[in-house]
């Protein structure tokens, strides 16, 4: 199967006070048509910067895409002009942000905003865009869409705002939707509603979905494949069930052992990962995880490991074979 999105060796750095923060440092991954891919990692792992790079939304300065390729449907997005990127963004690739209150314009009605991509990309009249917007709001199950379309974002609850964001992202029937922590700000029961809706609608429209999250439960429930990020790199990638049942990178293993879980045995203490994530402006030598890794050997300090095959659908970037060591 050919990939809809191919990211190759992406490096996005930020310049601050004479130092260079390597937010994304050589990331490669694929998204195939119609699938759901998760990017999971903790704060500062580079997952949001990866998403913003794909959409060419990195503020420059201070940010800069240093190198790499981002091929979407066969075209390298990094070589396109700003005007050409604008034709793709919000049209063929849509983004859903974490905080719907700050990503919606407070002074425009929800209806105008949801209809805006249709006006811009499909040159629809305002009337046509409005009608289509009502249909979209109906689709994301906002009650009384005709009335609610006239409301302003502050009149919506958090869950409703995120539904409106989903409606907006679907407006031009994109091939790819990138959702950056779409439900982190929402309550548990509303989070489940919104993610189910997103999954259902992407399945219906055939759009591929990239979910950026820190929640391994969300990954397990919704993603077909997963990329685990640490300090600007993908350290492990593969089918979701394979990664959860057979994790190979010590960081992935550590994350899973440190999670309290509803299906877990509560009599045992959690096994945290000791220490803290590294300073991205001052990365340790070799593998970035090495200072926190209980399996680290000399080689880990000397050279950062590249992703290598565990099996054809599972890659991990680690010098140590956990099966042998453990």
């Amino acid at each position: 199967m050919t990939s809809l999105l191919e990211v190759r060796n992406l490096k996005t750095y930020f310049h601050s006070d004479g130092s260079v923060v390597k937010a994304v440092d050589g990331v490669s991954f694929d998204v195939r048509a119609g699938e759901t891919v998760a990017v999971v990692g903790e704060s500062g792992s580079g997952k949001t910067v990866t998403a913003l790079s794909v959409l060419r939304l990195i503020p420059d300065p201070p940010g800069e895409i240093i190198s790499g390729e981002i091929r979407f449907a066969g075209r390298d997005l990094l070589s396109l002009s700003e005007a050409e990127v604008r034709k793709i963004r919000g049209n063929r690739i849509a983004m859903i942000f974490q905080e719907p209150m700050t990503s919606l314009n407070p002074s425009l009605t929800v209806g105008r905003q949801v209809g805006e991509p249709i006006e811009i990309h499909q040159r629809a009249s305002r009337k046509n865009a409005w009608d289509k917007c009502i249909a979209l709001l109906h689709k994301v199950r906002i009650p009384d869409p005709e009335q609610r379309a006239n409301a302003y974002p502050y009149q919506f609850s958090g869950g409703m705002r995120q539904r409106a964001m989903i409606a907006m992202s679907l407006a031009c029937e994109p091939e790819l939707i990138i959702a950056d922590e779409p439900t982190t700000a929402l309550d548990v029961t509303v989070q489940a509603q919104v993610l189910h809706l997103l999954k259902e609608l992407t399945r219906e429209t055939g759009a591929a979905l990239v979910i950026i999250t820190h929640d391994l439960g969300v990954v397990a429930r919704y993603a077909d494949r997963v990329n685990v990020m640490y300090a600007g790199r993908i350290v492990e990638t593969g089918q979701t069930s394979e990664i959860f049942n057979n994790p190979k990178h010590p960081y992935t293993v550590g994350l899973m052992n440190s999670l309290p879980r509803l299906d877990g045995d509560v009599r045992f203490a959690l096994q945290p990962i000791e220490g803290h994530p590294p300073d991205l402006a001052n990365l340790p030598s070799g593998c970035a995880f090495q200072p926190r890794c209980q399996y680290a050997v000399d080689r880990c300090l000397a050279k950062p490991p590249e992703l290598s095959e565990v099996n054809p659908e599972h890659l991990a970037a680690c010098w140590v074979d956990l099966n042998v060591t453990a």
Binding site: V188, Q191, H214, S258, D263, V266, P272
Partner: protein
């Protein structure tokens, strides 16, 4: 085994906030019942987990128990003493025994104070230490107790990571040797790998010092891990309270069931085998709560009487109480 005296008894606690409106906001237009008739006990050395979504009143309840906000009515009995109507001065010695750990380790620490002074401040405020030497020793002991090097006491809050800041917050809370610690979302601002460090620390400190915790959080997995008993709140009311295993294995209230079902488990196999119950709608505004059972508009099991009368919290089996007309 005789039942020990509870550390904390809360009886029919109500906290209401006036809502002002009108042209200059001078007119009182309503009342928010943030905590609406909550009763429970906490036994010595145990952890009572409190879960619920935003607006359920869990944080307000924690603050009210510590008398950091005014209560409207009800009784709070701490260590056998009714503290619900104590004056400020009379509360001071009580406060030494009840402390709080806050959610936001960034906002809760004074950025202009060194860690050692932040931790030692309660000792100074309460005039505890006999002399400088005793003070310094106690601060060092506290730093070590929470897993920080004594030299780190010289640093300022911005020099610490989120997890380390939470350790400072915990050390400060423990400075006065409290019996009860109210933890309000102590790990929700932290990354998963750091969260586990802090949970383990809180558990180790409880064993070592015999602490009693009121552990307020929205994360059901964290609460399950740390709690002996768990209380579920919805719109200012307790809807269910039970032992950890009863609550998680055999939840009775439809809201508890839906809440547990909504949490995705970090296991694709378990998720594939699971049937997820999705709730309709969101938590209603506490300004205008539904009549009868506050959960009835979202409840798939609701009957006509749910709309009319609020079900009373009643014991189903030992220690397992639920407020629902179905039982």
């Amino acid at each position: 085994m005789s039942q020990p005296e509870p550390v904390l008894v809360v009886e029919d606690l109500k906290v209401e906030f006036p809502v002002h409106g009108g042209l200059l906001g001078g007119r009182r237009i309503g009342t928010v019942k943030a905590v609406d008739g909550v009763s429970f006990e906490v036994n010595p050395g145990e952890t009572l987990g409190v879960v619920g979504e935003s607006g359920c009143g869990k944080t307000t309840m924690g603050l009210a128990i510590l008398r950091m906000i005014d209560i409207t009515s009800g009784r709070i009995v701490f260590d056998g003493e009714d503290i619900s109507t104590l004056e400020r001065a009379a509360m001071r010695p009580v406060r030494r025994k009840m402390q709080m750990v806050y959610q936001d380790p960034f906002g809760a620490l004074d950025p202009r104070m060194r860690a050692k002074d932040i931790i030692g401040e309660p000792l100074v405020a309460h005039g505890i230490s006999e002399n400088r030497e005793a003070y310094r020793e106690r601060v060092s002991e506290l730093l070590e107790m929470v897993g920080l090097d004594v030299v780190m006491g010289e640093r300022y809050p911005h020099e610490f990571s989120g997890g380390q800041r939470q350790r400072i917050g915990i050390a400060r809370a423990l400075a006065l040797r409290p019996t009860l610690v109210v933890c309000d979302e102590p790990v929700s601002a932290l990354d998963v790998s750091i969260q586990a460090q802090i949970i383990n620390l809180l558990e180790a400190l409880q064993d070592e010092l015999g602490l009693t915790y009121l552990f307020i959080a929205h994360d059901l997995s964290v609460v399950q891990h740390i709690s002996d008993r768990v209380m579920v709140m919805y719109l200012g009311k307790v809807v269910e309270i039970a032992n950890r295993s009863d609550l998680y294995r055999a939840p009775k209230h439809p809201y508890t069931q839906a809440l547990l079902s909504a949490v995705p488990m970090p296991s694709p196999d378990a998720e594939a085998a699971r049937e997820v119950v999705l709730l309709e709608g969101e938590v209603p505004s506490p300004l205008n709560p539904p009549t009868g059972c506050p959960f009835h508009p979202r409840c798939s099991m609701a009957r006509p009487d749910c709309r009319e009368t609020m079900p009373v919290l009643t014991e189903q089996n030992t220690g397992h109480k639920v407020a629902c007309h179905l039982y």
